[in-house]
């Protein structure tokens, strides 16, 4: 009797757990990657900070300065690279250049490393577009991997793509 009720309770518990777990796995919240769109996306102002999400075969860029969507299958090339930028930039960064006793020069020594992600894609007319994104260090490779998995193309395989420069052999493959 006791065993029977324990069995029933276990089955009921597993059923509840299964029902609640299914939608969570199906929805899989799209956590975007925070990036800065340096230039190139149609309808988005340059240097717009926003989020990239890969959703249903599209690269979605969302920011306060505009939205853009690029089908991943239309992306012909994804290349990652790395660079560094001033910690104090923008208007404040420009003003620091006026600091006395070489203060601006000293402050320009403080730099943060960034990853760059460059894409080339074609629109419906066949026109070639390019876009450049910058993001925190170490994020670009993961994003590229995800993009390639969802249908984007590249001329440089993942493991070779460290310098951001295109090798001649890879370039020759392009039509």
């Amino acid at each position: 009797m006791v065993l029977r009720s324990i069995r029933m309770a276990t089955i009921a518990l597993l059923g509840i757990v299964g029902i609640t777990a299914l939608p969570a796995a199906a929805q899989k919240p799209a956590t975007g990657t925070k990036v800065t769109e340096f230039m190139g996306l149609e309808g988005v102002k340059p240097r717009a900070g926003g989020t990239i999400t890969l959703d249903s075969g599209n690269l979605q860029f969302t920011s306060s300065k505009g939205k853009a969507s690029v089908p991943l299958k239309s992306i012909e090339d994804v290349v990652t690279g790395n660079d560094s930028q001033r910690v104090f930039r923008g208007t404040f960064g420009t003003l620091t250049m006026l600091a006395p006793y070489g203060g601006g020069r000293f402050l320009s020594l403080f730099r943060s490393k960034v990853d760059t992600l460059t894409i080339q894609y074609r629109d419906a007319d066949g026109s070639l577009h390019g876009a450049i994104f910058t993001m925190g260090e170490g994020k670009a490779d993961a994003l590229k991997k995800e993009m390639l998995a969802q249908g984007a193309h590249t001329t440089i395989p993942q493991e070779e793509d460290t310098s951001g420069a295109k090798p001649d052999a890879a370039r020759e493959k392009k039509p």
């Binding site: 001033r86 066949g126 577009h129 876009a131 450049i132 310098s163 951001g164 295109k166």
Partner: protein
């Protein structure tokens, strides 16, 4: 004797000025290579030089943006745009990277004199049939302020100006 010397010197100077004026006039009245209503920009090629992808894309995008900004052309087409096929007065711009030196923004900020970024590009303007109309080497550089990619903007401005000066029909007064 002195007068003769002075006179000769003045004459030589005047002759020099005259030659220079003739040269300037000849340059300014040089016939236009071709008048075009549309231009197509092809993707920057860098077969000989290893150019980072962000520079390649930045050159291409800045070039298109500057050509639109400069005005004069009714259409600025991108690489691969099928609409360009129907244009009659079309100029196609091929750009090939001939030299690239990636400087350092930090070095520029700290030293002012070091860390220059420079890109040398060979620009070739062809007509629709592929015939070469004009070619020139242009340079883009950033010496003091801004990131390395600013050199691409410098090149784009020069190339757009050259295209405008040579192919845009000026209104007759």
């Amino acid at each position: 004797m002195k007068r003769v010397l002075y006179g000769t010197a003045v004459l030589l100077i005047l002759l020099g000025v005259q030659f220079k004026l003739m040269e300037v006039r000849a340059q300014s009245t040089a016939p236009l290579a071709m008048k075009a209503t549309a231009i197509q920009v092809l993707m920057i090629q860098s077969d000989e030089i290893k150019l980072p992808a962000e520079f390649q894309v930045s050159l291409y995008e800045n070039l298109i943006e500057q050509l639109k900004k400069q005005g004069g052309f009714q259409h600025v087409y991108r690489d691969g745009d099928h609409a360009a096929d129907s244009e009659t007065d079309l100029v196609v711009l091929h750009s090939t990277v001939r030299g690239f030196k990636k400087g350092s923004e930090m070095a520029r900020n700290v030293t002012t004199v070091a860390g220059k970024t420079s890109i040398d590009i060979h620009c070739q303007f062809n007509d629709k049939t592929g015939k070469n109309i004009l070619e020139k080497d242009l340079n883009g550089k950033v010496r003091f302020f801004g990131g390395n990619l600013r050199a691409t903007l410098d090149f784009a401005k020069k190339a757009a100006k050259m295209a405008h000066d040579n192919f845009v029909a000026r209104p007759t007064t």
